[in-house]
Structures are given as C-alpha cells and as structure tokens.
Symmetry: C3
Subunit: 322 residues, 3 copies
C-alpha cells in the first residue's frame, strides 16, 4: 500500500477531508489548522474546557500498534469536543485477528462511527483506508510505519510558532537522531518546509540519515557542527531496535555523540528551544537536566498536541467557522 495521502486528503474545493500526511498539504490548510488550534486554546483559556463541536459523533481510536500516550491524547481531544470515543485496540483483540483491516473499518463504519484515528506499523494503511471509507467518514493518521505522523508535525509547528513567531524564513531548526526511520522527522520536515523555514538541518549517525534528503535540508553527522545558530533543537526518540540492528553501537556511545547536554545546548542560540516528541529516553538522546530545563518546551508540546488534535477533528467534521 504505497502512501498517496496528498491527493486524497483534500476535497475538490480544497477543504480537509482526511489528515494523512503533511507532504503536499497546502500552506493555507496547514496554517488554518494552526490558527484553529490557537482559537481553541484562546476560547478555552489555557485550561481546556468542553466544546460541543462533535456532540453526537463517534470517534474510534483504531490502533493496530499500541500507544497508550498517543491514544490518550486523541481520546481526550475527542472527549473535550463532546464526541463519544471508542478505543478499538486491534493489537490486543483476538476476534479481529485474521479479519482484514478493511473489514474492521467497514464494520465500524456500519456502526455509524464518523472519525477514525488510525495507527499501523505498515506505511500507507491510513491512505488505504481513506480510499475506501464512505462519504462523511474521515481518517486521521496517528502514525504509519516510518511514513508520517502528521498531528505530531502540526503540534511541533504550532509549538515553534507560539515560541518563535510566525516569521519562519528567519528560523534555523535542527532535527537530531534517527532521521531515516522517523515518521516524526518526516512530518516535521514537510511542515517546516511548507512554512518556509529558512535554515533546516538534520543531524545523526550517517547510517540513520536518509540518502534522498530534500536539497533545501542540510545534513550533519557531527552534532557540535550542526548546533551553531539553531533556534529550535528537536531531539528524536532512539528506538531500541537500532541497537539490535547494529546501526547504533550502544546507548552510552549514542549519548556521547548525539545526546543533547548542557555543553552542546550552549552551542545553539541562547534562546533556542528544546523539543522532543516523547516518550524520552533520558540519558540516551537527551540529558535529564536539559529535558527539564529552562529551554525545554517538551511538556508544552504535549499540551499543544491536545488543541491541535481538537482543531484537526473540528475541521474534519466541518465544524467551527473559518
């Protein structure tokens, strides 16, 4: 199932129909999602209150790969829009073993579910489902393989805009870690290029950098060289399987070469912000004091994730005026 999100996720008149990828998502649509999130944050005054936007609608968390944290964020976003939420945890379901993904979708559609939040280890599963849903039903990609994690890309862009302002051409943003296998990195690169970030950099061990990087992106394998001038440092989670695959020698060696500590942070701009999509491996990709430090916006990312996901759901439901 090759991903073909770009062509699928907009209606003929350019409105959001599904959210599958940030690759090719028009700038106006992306900015509208960030603005909608900001409006929701303002309306609810910091503390998120319940809005009646999705009352009577049903949101399904259709997770073929378990993730308590991401599922909870979507669950809370949906509840705060007054939707009914069903957690359909296929990873632990025995009934649905052997049933095709599409039959599971069709069954839930037939139960009048409106919005599917899909996570799957295979690239393109959300696109495949989006191809097949009936009118009025939307798919949100909550992470597919190493392809895309668009709500993460949006919440990161939202966080950067809140902290650093909307003048993206003036910003230098650095992503650090396993760029090659990271759907978070891919979705961020798509968002940040669409928003016109002037200086976009990635850094990691050569074995974990993609060969086909966009020409506008600068690649580094020396972390110290990558840092000067950075306004934003986004650390990625190191997956344990990279060590099993011998792409990374050890946690200690990884931290030595690619971990963010106080010395390295001092090489970036003094007002640089530190980001991480979570969950963190403290002492592996990031030192504990930096994760909890003054420049860290890691918990803001989590909070912003809620309003951004509320914004996506509201837009897909055709709710809220522009």
């Amino acid at each position: 199932m090759p991903p073909d999100g770009p062509s699928l996720q907009l209606t003929a008149d350019g409105r959001l129909r599904h959210l599958l990828t940030l690759d090719g998502l028009p700038r106006a649509v992306l900015v509208d999602l960030l603005d909608t999130a900001a409006a929701i944050a303002a309306a609810t005054g910091g503390k998120v209150k319940k809005l009646p936007v999705l009352r009577g609608r049903t949101v399904v968390n259709l997770f073929f790969e378990p993730s308590t944290r991401t599922r909870t964020s979507f669950e809370l976003a949906a509840s705060r829009l007054s939707a009914d939420v069903v957690n359909f945890d296929v990873a632990t379901s025995s009934t649905t073993k052997g049933e095709s993904v599409l039959d599971t979708l069709r069954t839930l559609e037939a139960m009048h579910c409106d919005l599917f939040v899909v996570r799957h280890k295979e690239n393109g599963t959300p696109d495949y489902l989006a191809h097949h849903v009936r009118d009025g039903v939307s798919i949100i990609n909550a992470g597919d393989g190493d392809n895309a994690h668009p709500t993460q890309g949006l919440l990161d862009a939202y966080t950067i805009r809140r902290r650093k302002g909307a003048d993206f051409p003036r910003l230098a943003v650095l992503l650090v870690g396993d760029i090659l296998h990271s759907r978070v990195a891919r979705s961020n690169l798509h968002a940040l290029r669409t928003l016109g970030v002037g200086d976009l950099r990635v850094c990691g061990p050569r074995a974990l950098l993609p060969a086909d990087l966009d020409p506008g992106v600068r690649a580094f394998d020396d972390f110290d060289e990558a840092l000067p001038g950075a306004d934003v440092i986004m650390m990625l989670r190191l997956q344990k399987e990279r060590m099993r695959e011998a792409l990374v020698p050890s946690e200690a060696a990884y931290f030595r070469d690619y971990g963010l500590d106080a010395r390295r942070l001092s090489l970036a701009r003094p007002d640089a912000i530190v980001m991480h999509p979570g969950p963190m491996n403290r002492g592996v990709e990031i030192a504990s004091d930096i994760a909890d430090g003054r420049q860290s916006v890691i918990l803001e990312q989590v909070s912003n994730g809620l309003v951004v996901r509320m914004a996506v759901m509201a837009r897909l439901a055709g709710a809220l005026p522009p």
Copy 2:
C-alpha cells in the same frame, strides 16, 4: 449450569426481564423488539443520534471471553442511549482470577450497575447470573458457549424483515456451515421458527449438523442441492478449531464444498440476500466478491445490530412506550 432462559426472562405479566435466549421467547415479545428497533431507526433518521433513554444508568460489558467487535456494538448502543458504560474485561483481569463469576456480578451490582451484557464460553452462564441478580438488574446474553446469541438472532431477523418483508411463511431461509457448534445458528433457528418461516433449511458437513434438528427444519450436506429457491442465505463463520479437531479437512476443501461463490449464489433465487454474522473468513466460507457483492447485506447486519441492541436495552429498562 443448564440454560433455563425461557422461564427466567419474562416477568409474570409477560414483559422482558432479561434477554437470555430466543428459545421460547413469545412471538409478541420478539416482534415488539423488532418494532422497537425500527422505531429507533426511524427516530434517529438513519444516522444514529443520542437518545436520553438510559441517562443515569450504568451498563457493564462483562466479557469473560474477549470480543472487541461485539463489545463495541453493545458499548455504542449503550452510549447512544446516554448510559454510562464500563468495560469489565474479565478475560484480561488478574484481580478477578479466582473470584467466582457470581462474586464479580455481586460486586458490580453493589456499585449500582443496572444492566449486564455477559459473554462466557460456558453454556448457561447468563442464565445462572439472571437467577441471582437483584430486582431491577437485567442480564443480556452476548453469547454463551454454543448455546445462544440472542441479539444476533434478533438483528438477523430484523435484517430479513427489512429486506424481505414480514410475510415469513413465504420465505425460504438457508443457514450454511457449522450448525452443530454455532450459537448464532441456534438463535437464528429459534427466531425464524417463532416468526413462522415457511421453509427453513440448514446445510453443512454431516459432522457439523446436529442430530436433534427440529422436525420443521430440512438438513442438507450438499450445498448445491440446498440452494434452489432460497430467499436468504446465511453463511456461518468457520472456527479454526474444527480443523484441529479434524471435523473439517482444510480451508480449501471447506470452501470447495461449503463456500458461497458466484456459481452457487446463482442457484438461489435471483433476489436472494447473503448474510454473515462476521468476522468473515474470506475465501473459506464465502468468496470475497460475494461478501462485497450486490446481494450482500452483511454490513446492514452490523448497522441493524446497533438499533436492535438499543431496543433490547430500552425494553429491559422499561423505557419507551409500546
């Protein structure tokens, strides 16, 4: 625990007290449930909206055998009646290991739960619990062993009535597969006989046909011979354990002899409908093109399951006027 649903599930004045089995359920009660489901479907205009029928009541999904699909259908039916729903998944609970089924029920009753949806691999567990609940608490059997699955039988009858009309004596209905071990088949046979289906047939390998079939039911072990004249063809799911038990040689052999494909479907009436309780084994009991074909009502069954379950819950709660 021998099932004794028939005598337990009605009040002295003939109203529904529990739903344990369709065996012996009076025709008037059964038809009232179908009519109530139709009224709910009409009131909510296709798209199911929330009704305040169970506001303030608590429905427990008490599943001793996991089933994400059936549990979700009951969960959504309860939410759409505005109940609070608790999923008490005993299959994965460690605390309750060693606690008796009855102690688990008593505990939840003491938490003021009103309606228990029970699935258990032992025949008669819902009847046993119904014997012991206190006043005002109702049990719905969501499948017990190979005994009964009454809401499935109801939703199938509802689907047939919507598609083929209420003149059941003129209909020929064929059930195909493992009739012997299927609680779906048993509940369907009870419902269809009560409704007075004129021509009731079952078909399957001899080892999977019951010895004590009702005299009004015709049994076939040749699928081609069973099909002519059928208005409704209901395919059953083949359980993998039938092959381990050597009751069925292989999936391929089963499909050759008892799978529904285009050639076989053409032997039935041209307007015959194809049903399946799901989840399907495509290519085992049913060809994929037939499952998705023009005559298939398989997804309608799923949708109808919601309104039928809402109707059962509403009736048990004494809500909705007749």
Copy 3:
C-alpha cells in the same frame, strides 16, 4: 521513595490537597470525608445518580498494577460526578515501558488532567508523585505496595459507622489475616485509631503479624481467643504468595486456623458484622455461608466505596460546601 504522605496531603490551612494515607490524617478531615459521603448517599437516594461536581474535569486512573475491580470503582465514582475518565493502564502499555513514572505523570498533566488515581506496587509512589505535581492537580492513592490503601480504610470506617454508630470508643474491632503485608490493614488501623476505637485487635499467624504494632492494638495468634466481644470482624484476603514463601502451609491449614466459619462467628458478639475488602477466597479466609450470611456487610462495603470515593474526589476538587 519513603512515604511522607502526612505532611504532603493537607494545605497550609488544613484542607485536603491529596489523599495519600490515613496515617496522621486529622480526625476532623477524616470525619468530614465520612460526612460528605453520607451527604452524597442521601442526596442520591440510595441509587447513585449523576452529580455535576466534576463536569469538565479529567480523572486519570493511573494503574501500574492491574486491578479491574478497584479501577472500576474509581471510574464509576468519577463518571457519577460527571468527570471525563481516562484509564491509563501502564501495566499493559508498551509505549510507556522505560518511561519514568514521573514523565508519565508530567505528560498527562500537560494534557490537562486534574486528578490522578494511582496504584503502584512500590511503597511511596503516590507520595513521590504528589511531591511533583503542579498546582491544582491532586493524587489519590489507590494502593501502594504494603503501605496504604486510604480509600479502603475510609470506606470501611464509613461502613462501621453506618452499622454500629459513631460511638467508636465503645466498639471492639478485630482484623484477621496477613496484617504484616496488608495495606488494607494498615489503613484501617490508622482510621480506627484516629476515630478512637476503644478495643482494637489483630489476629493472624505470628509470621504475619507486625513486630512494631501500636501499643493500643492487641495481637492474637489464636483466632478463638481473639473473637469474644468483637463488634466488627474484618477478614483480609490471603495472597497466594504467602504460601510460596512458606509463611502459610496450605489453604486448608489456613482455613482451619484463621478462616471465619459459623462456629467462630458465634464466639463474637451476636450482632457482630463481618467485613472483607474483596475479592474473597471463599473457603480460605472465610466460609462461603458466612460471606453470604446475615451478618456479612461485604457488599455494602462495595457500595459504600463508591460514595466514599465520590466524597474524596469532590473534596479534592474543592467542590461541595462543608
């Protein structure tokens, strides 16, 4: 993480900030919780109805140790106060493996969750989290190691007060079983001493009695000798691991020496009540006919658990007038 609940759980002006332990909880605060529970029970007229006390707030069940029964009690208590409830079951979460307890808390705080119900096998985890939460967020200890289970202690005190009246100095209360390892026993002893129970006794095999019992508590290893004059007999659940550790020879021997049966019950006061926190091992610590008998208040404890947990949540939220 040594527990330090007493100093943490009250605000400077003496109101409840967290509920971590009953050890050191002032009598006035404890009695206020019992009174609040009684007010909730009265307001909802036996049958628990929904109250709007926590509308718009989010309660997280953060269970690092699975417990379907306790989780369900908290879940229902929160729903009946109109909160949104999220079950964040860390015991089965793969994402959060390797993430620290504190990072999990911080993440959920950042999602604007207000109240955390925490169960953990390590003593002091709820205290540790309470140290680190931000303003406006409260922790309820739902059981930590063998340290404390304060809502159980409260619901037991509430049950005793309803059944035996508030004149605690005149009461004789006997706890029987594995006093040494039981957080239920510890929390009960704290509550009952604070309430001024005149005659407080514990009974169990010597290997399961604490060496450092409070001087006001009398210890017995002969059950028959412990019973005369008891108004309340509280049986504790025997954990299977005590037999693996050879602290208890066998279930049969345990029942012979420390099981409550009809003969033993007749040694207590004729109007003595029998309690058990559940789930029961029938035939191990309690005979089945006694568990279900006239003097048993075991199911009342479960019902009382709901209103007591609603009272705790309401007080932590600063809701309901005194």
